[in-house]
């Protein structure tokens, strides 16, 4: 394992190739300056963005595009806040018109406090969006049957949660994620639940293609430093996955030779 393998290690979603395996959200930051600084420190090449009503009383307010250039960073519009398939489809049609992008993140959510993925609504929206020409990266439950069905519908990436959105509980379901991953051929990402750098590393060590997170950076005391920590954790986790970890064993196995001991 040397720098060569690392340099060539890219992943592809919907025909687009990326080097960074960290996708970050752009919500919950103090201001747009901090958003831009954190994204730069994270090294992310894709950011998720939300679609919301323009504040008509302040039309000249600075916009996200003024700080995060969509020509340099791929915008991935999401459907956060949508609880029905219809709302999600409307939102992404608007996003496509606003930005011209057909690569989107679909999430149809159940009610608070869990905001757990609503899979019947997600299936319905995914089918409608794919029929309408969208390339859908989909947030979903850690349900192998749901993942398979979404892949068969034509989703371009399967993105189950590690824990509820914004919970910071870490990857609570590593065994299930591993079992899902074995069935899915399109890119597989952990999309929610990461709380700190080790959580992101764990997701990557499992063999995920990438990790998507927002709150873990935005709600850290120092978001820009945490963004850098996430970048390094994702790289470290990826390298550990490629290197192949040692087997676990129940008991000790000394690292130093047992021969030549002084008597």
């Amino acid at each position: 394992m040397d720098g060569m393998i690392q340099a060539d290690d890219t992943w592809t979603v919907a025909g687009r190739r990326f080097r960074s395996r960290l996708i970050v959200g752009t919500g919950k930051y103090k201001d747009l300056e901090e958003t831009a600084a954190a994204i730069a420190a994270s090294g992310a090449e894709i950011v998720t963005v939300a679609v919301r009503r323009v504040n008509l009383s302040d039309p000249k307010a600075p916009m996200l595009q003024d700080y995060v250039d969509p020509k340099k960073i791929t915008y991935l519009p999401n459907t956060a806040g949508c609880h029905t398939a219809n709302d999600a489809v409307r939102t992404l049609r608007l996003a496509r018109e606003a930005g011209g992008w057909n690569l989107v993140k679909l999430e149809v959510l159940g009610p608070p406090p869990l905001l757990y993925p609503d899979m019947p609504g997600t299936f319905e929206a995914a089918a409608a969006l794919i029929k309408d020409g969208f390339e859908v990266m989909v947030y979903c439950a850690d349900d192998p049957l749901a993942a398979k069905r979404l892949e068969e519908l034509g989703c371009v990436a399967i993105m189950p949660l590690g824990a509820p959105i914004g919970s910071g509980l870490g990857v609570q379901n590593p065994a299930m994620l591993t079992m899902m991953m074995e069935q899915v051929k399109v890119p597989f990402l952990v999309d929610a639940g990461v709380g700190t750098a080790s959580d992101a590393a764990i997701a990557m060590e499992l063999g995920c293609d990438a990790v998507l997170l927002n709150s873990a950076i935005a709600l850290a005391k120092d978001p820009v430093t945490m963004a850098r920590a996430m970048k390094l954790a994702v790289e470290a986790g990826r390298l550990a996955y490629l290197a192949g970890r040692m087997p676990r064993r129940m008991g000790a196995d000394p690292s130093s030779p047992l021969t030549g001991l002084i008597r």
Binding site: K28, T48, A50, V51, R52, R53, K60, M63, N78, L213
Partner: protein, 70 residues
């Protein structure tokens, strides 16, 4: 002749001197065409047809843009 066009604009009742197109509306509101998207009665208004899309009283208009989100 001036007519009054009453719209539901981003959920609020607003009136404008007519006739008013989507292009006129965005100009009046001071919004940058390149950074927003417009929906009229739950159907997308393509950017290329803003100038010839005339609004009628009772229309529900949504004007959106991108903001930070996860």
């Amino acid at each position: 002749m001036q007519t009054c066009v009453s719209l539901t604009l981003n959920g609020e009742d607003r009136s404008f001197d007519g006739p008013v197109s989507v292009d006129d509306l965005l100009r009046t509101l001071g919004l940058d065409h390149r950074k927003v998207a417009v929906e009229r009665n739950e159907a997308i208004v393509p950017r290329s047809s803003y100038a010839e899309t005339w609004l009628a009283s009772g229309d529900a208009i949504e004007i959106v843009h991108f903001i930070g989100g996860g």
